[in-house]
């Protein structure tokens, strides 16, 4: 499995994007987000970007006001996930040009489309920015 969920949360703890790769009910999601967001946001910059939570780990990274949190299984390579987050941000940067929280809010579906290209079944399947963005750009053109 690998990746269990990807969350984008701003520094007030408000969810800006949520994608789960295993089914959770609305209540479970709400509880989980509340718990881990509180945990991660309380940490300072010097501390590890990894937090153990129940039987999995959260790898997180902060970009300006936005936190990217990725829940992964215990045998996942944390540093690689940390860089995966950065790859996602770079990819969004290439598309939006200096991506910010509002870009993701106004184009929620596009952010999701990019994620759909990068991750399937909780596995990283595509890491080439060109390959990730081509379908999204084609969508934009055709409509």
């Amino acid at each position: 499995m690998g990746i269990r969920f990807i969350l984008m949360v701003n520094k007030q703890g408000q969810t800006r994007l949520a994608q789960y790769y295993e089914w959770l009910t609305l209540e479970e999601r709400r509880a989980l987000e509340g718990e881990i967001v509180r945990k991660c946001l309380a940490r300072n910059e010097q501390q590890c970007s990894f937090v153990e939570h129940r039987n999995y780990k959260i790898v997180y990274r902060r970009y300006a006001s936005l936190f990217f949190l990725v829940g992964v299984d215990n045998d996942e390579n944390e540093l690689a996930i940390l860089e995966f987050i950065h790859l996602l941000v770079e990819t969004m940067d290439r598309h939006f040009g200096n991506v910010c929280e509002l870009d993701i809010m106004f184009h929620l579906e596009k952010a999701h489309f990019m994620l759909e290209e990068m991750v399937m079944n909780g596995c990283i399947v595509e890491t080439s920015k060109a390959q990730i963005l081509t379908p999204v750009q084609l969508l934009e053109k055709t409509s």
Binding site: L17, W23, C48, F50, E52, N77, E78, M105, T127, Q131
Partner: protein, 955 residues
């Protein structure tokens, strides 16, 4: 920002997003969302909504769910949108349904048809959108509906489609391996796909398949190795580069796969050595992603058949990680160390101070990871220090999940490595006291069994001491408020069994405490039951010893309360207690023999002890017992009537009772017995359930009453519900003994002296000294940094020697290998080192050794010659290590700071002063050791607030 290209957005949508973005509190956000729900409910079902408007509504629904509110009223509209012709609208529809619905939702059936149609589309983007949905929405039952089309798409000309089709097949395999078991060969085929994206994606399902069944994929080792080689040599398209690394995510996946395939397989592993070695060399260690790949290399190296060269490279990377300033790298280093330590245990020694820094770091994540490492490297020589630390940490945290985990680890380590039973009990006490309600009840039973069985065979005296100390510690602990229930059960049981055994405490002391417990935890029935039974035991022992029993007033009132308790169990125990007190010394000694919890209870399944009685009854004209198999309904009734007739004197009530259901118990029970127990009122029993012997003293009395009582006993003992005394179970006692009995007599003395060393460090103010001591106690025989007083040093040596000599091949292996210094370590990792070296080390004067340690210049001429000399390079190594370490730290950090300037805020600004510091260290190792200690004392990251330190270091 506004509407880019085709992504039309209305003012209304923009306003909504803005207001959500500007919401200052959760309550405000909720208000906006609830408002939005009302609006949408009204609007979304209006007729003839334009597509684009509808798409916008659906995204607003996504927002509603994302912010934690129910949007199920709009699901059907999302489903409808998947039918749309417009690609963007369709894909948004698919996205929404994958976010809203789980695979078992009723609406899925409406989507399967659309998916089927879209999989056949000429437009590959439509096919991709459908495949995305397949991966999220198809469950076991709907697999057959789409499987043929997905299979066809595996050969689609567009690589994006092939990739998604492979992942769809992967999903089917996850959902129902049997439904696609005949198709798994397709994963092998796609591994050779021309497109790196498809190949990379195929690695995911292959990894899972290989994890389940390694042997079927050994033939692919060569292929994986050659792919990895090509990737590492940059043969893949530049598009896959990330921060100048060639396709690092694919490399990592391949290394994971190789780790699986090479595990325990020398031949397969040999194929991998070259490529893994190449990656170690080529990897850019200044970037995060380079380190991620390096970390994966270490994982691979520690999983496959060991290769000395690769292990060396791995160790180098680990020490770089540990010396880094970045907590992330430290974390990875600790994790990697935990992996490598299984193959080369001696590697931990070089990093002891770094490990201790991590252990004492305020960062919880790092701390936990370090505890995990310590857990992996625990052995009998360091178990006390490690478990002690673990418990301290356990007490300090609130997270119940982790508390449970660490408590069970403490228990596991204590059971496995306990140097003495006394220590075991003390440790268990602490675990129970602070996490009692979180540990498994079995652990409590183990503890009781251990106390009951003691050291075993020869040393009764030690057993008694052990129990006395347990009793004493429990009486002390009972003073604490709010103890966990499980722990109280153990305490009550032990006090009942052994409270008065050594004569230190009087019966009234113990019973008083037990009554306090029952009173203080009055809503915990299990504890009360334990306390009552313990009271009964104490009184029984008193009676058996022919001492006068004075029941305390509080005990009497407790009994009165329990006699009227709503819980039948408590009531019965109270009645039993009453009954026991009324018996004479001989009878009590028979039913409650002292210290007999370990005796086996012989269960006489044939109830042969009743033979005489039955004989007598039959002679008096009673009906003989007919086994159930030989009985028919008619017979039963006639039998019953006869009996009825026989006992004509009995009253009507009894008659009704006999009409109740047939005996539901085993066939061999004499029918009369069962029938009678059903009407025997509970308050009658004269004998407690917890009797330790099967033969009961029969009390001569008139036929009728004797009949009742006897019947009751027989049934109770055999079929009565199990009582709460766990001590009677002796099944796995032997295994317990072999583990804990190993250190035996000399164990105790060793322990106390070791404890002394450990404790003596507490009052020390000097941080580095303390750390070094901790390091010494954690890492056992390594004496390089040992500065502790001679006695402590000697004791540690002696203890390891004792442990080594006395038992367990496993621990002796560890101790031996630990003694051999890295320099002496032969390349063969399985070599245990020379036992002779150990013995010479033991004879050394520890003071001399210390001198040697502190003044390296004199080492060559030192009296104790060879051994000391062989140790001196270690100091140098240590010094070099730390010096280089600080240097490296800065290097790595500066570089990573440079390479990663855009978004992260890596720590690195405070590190500058250290560069000069490391280069200016004097040539005298003694001085620099002291300085190094000072640096450590001031903290790992000296800031400008410590000008004196730098003056000292630089001057």
């Amino acid at each position: 920002m506004g509407s880019q290209g085709g992504f039309y957005q209305s003012k209304e949508f923009l306003d909504l997003v803005k207001s959500i973005g500007e919401a200052r509190s959760k309550a405000e956000e909720d208000r906006i969302v609830l408002n939005e729900i009302e609006t949408l409910k009204r609007r979304i079902s209006e007729p003839d909504i334009p597509k684009r408007k509808m798409k916008e509504y659906i995204i607003r629904l996504v927002y509603i769910e994302m912010l934690g509110h129910d949007a199920s009223f709009g699901y059907i509209h999302a489903v409808k949108m998947t039918h749309d012709d417009s690609l963007l609208v369709k894909r948004t529809g698919y996205l929404a349904v994958t976010l809203f619905l789980n695979e078992d939702h009723d609406l899925i059936i409406l989507i399967v048809n659309t998916i089927q149609k879209d999989l056949k589309s000429d437009n590959y983007l439509v096919v991709c959108a459908a495949l995305n949905a397949v991966c999220k929405l198809i469950n076991e039952e709907t697999i057959p509906a789409v499987l043929p089309q997905v299979m066809e798409l595996l050969a689609h000309p567009k690589e994006a489609v092939r990739k998604k089709a492979i992942m769809a097949l992967h999903r089917f395999y996850q959902k129902s391996p049997s439904s696609v078991s005949h198709l798994v060969s397709n994963f092998r085929k796609r591994l050779c796909d021309n497109d790196p994206g498809v190949m990379g994606a195929t690695l995911c399902p292959l990894f899972e398949l290989i994890a389940r069944d390694v042997n079927s994929y050994k033939d692919l080792v060569i292929s994986f190795v050659s792919i990895l080689k090509q990737v590492a040599e940059r043969r893949l398209s530049k598009a896959y580069d990330y921060h100048q690394m060639p396709a690092p995510f694919i490399q990592i996946k391949l290394l994971k796969i190789l780790a699986l395939l090479g595990s325990g397989d020398k031949q397969a592993s040999e194929n991998m050595y070259t490529v893994v070695g190449d990656i170690f060399r080529k990897c850019d260690s200044s970037s995060n992603i380079g380190n991620a790949v390096l970390y994966e290399c270490i994982c691979c190296v520690s999983s496959i058949y060991p290769n000395p060269k690769l292990l060396e490279s791995a160790a180098d990377v680990i020490s770089r990680f540990l010396k880094s300033d970045s907590h992330n790298l430290k974390y990875m280093g600790i994790d990697a160390l935990g992996r490598l330590i299984k193959i080369s245990p001696e590697i931990a020694e070089q990093h002891q101070l770094a490990v201790i820094d991590c252990l004492e770091d305020p960062d919880d994540t790092l701390k936990r990871k370090t505890f995990e490492l310590l857990y992996k490297m625990t052995k009998s020589t360091n178990v006390e220090v490690i478990v002690d630390r673990m418990i301290d940490y356990m007490i300090s945290i609130n997270d119940n999940h982790y508390k449970t985990e660490i408590a069970s680890r403490c228990v596991e380590l204590a059971e496995q490595f306990a140097p003495s039973n006394q220590w075991f009990i003390q440790t268990m006490n602490r675990v129970f006291e602070h996490a009692g309600d979180l540990v498994n009840i079995k652990v409590a039973h183990n503890l009781m069994r251990l106390i009951a069985e003691g050291f075993g065979e020869d040393d009764d005296n030690a057993d008694t001491k052990l129990r006395s100390s347990a009793v004493e510690s429990y009486l002390r602990i009972l003073g604490e408020p709010k103890l966990p229930s499980v722990f109280l059960q153990v305490i009550c049981w032990v006090l009942g069994e052994y409270g008065t055994a050594d004569g230190m405490f009087s019966a009234s002391d113990i019973t008083g405490k037990l009554c306090d417990v029952a009173e203080a935890y009055s809503n915990d029935e299990t504890v009360k039951a334990y306390a009552t039974t313990a009271l009964m035991k104490i009184y029984a022992f008193e009676i058996a010893a022919r001492r006068k029993v004075d029941m305390l007033p509080e005990c009497q009132s407790l009994m009165e309360e329990l006699l009227a308790s709503h819980s039948t169990d408590l009531q019965q125990r109270a009645y039993e207690l009453q009954a026991v007190i009324g018996l004479d010394a001989h009878a009590v000694a028979c039913i409650m023999p002292s210290d007999a919890s370990c005796e086996d209870i012989e269960v006489d399944r044939d109830l042969s002890f009743l033979n005489d009685y039955i004989q007598e009854a039959i002679e008096k004209g009673a009906q003989p017992y007919i086994p159930e198999s030989e009985r028919s309904g008619m017979l039963n009734i006639s039998n019953f009537r006869n009996q009825d007739h026989h006992e004509a004197s009995s009253h009507g009530l009894r008659f009704e009772a006999y009409e109740l259901p047939k005996p539901a118990v085993q066939s061999r029970i004499p029918q009369t017995l069962i029938a009678s127990t059903e009407i025997v009122p509970v308050p009658e029993p004269m004998y407690p359930r917890e009797s330790y012997q099967t033969t009961m003293p029969s009390i001569p009395s008139d036929a009728g009453s004797a009949e009742l009582k006897l019947r009751l006993e027989g049934v109770q003992k055999k079929w009565g519900r199990s009582t709460y005394t766990p001590a009677t179970s002796t099944s796995n006692s032997t295994s317990q003994k072999t583990v804990n009995g190993t250190s035996q007599g000399d164990g105790a003395s060793t322990v106390s002296s070791m404890r002394e060393t450990y404790d003596s460090r507490k009052p020390q103010v000097e941080v580095s000294h303390e750390k070094q001591k901790l390091a010494a106690s954690l890492f056992g025989g390594s004496s390089k940094t040992e500065k502790s007083p001679a006695t402590g040093h000697k004791a540690a040596k002696a203890s390891s020697h004792v442990v080594e000599k006395s038992h367990v091949p496993k621990s002796s292996l560890e101790v031996a290998s630990e003694k051999a210094t890295p320099a002496q370590q032969p390349p063969d990792l399985l070599d245990l080192g020379e036992p002779t070296a150990t013995s010479t080390a033991l004879q050394l004067d520890p003071f001399k050794q210390l001198e040697g340690l502190l003044d390296a210049t004199e080492v060559a001429s030192a009296v104790n010659g060879a051994p000391a000399a062989s140790r001196s390079p270690d100091i140098m190594a240590l010094y070099a290590d730390t010096a280089a370490g600080i240097h490296n730290k800065n290097d790595a950090d500066l570089l990573s700071g440079l390479s990663n300037p855009s978004v992260t805020n890596m720590p690195g600004t405070t590190a500058m002063p250290q560069v000069t510091q490391s280069s200016s260290k004097g040539p005298n190792p003694k001085d620099s050791l002291e300085k190094d200690a000072l640096v450590r004392q001031m903290g790992v990251n000296p800031s400008s607030q410590n000008p004196n330190l730098f003056k000292d270091l630089l001057g």
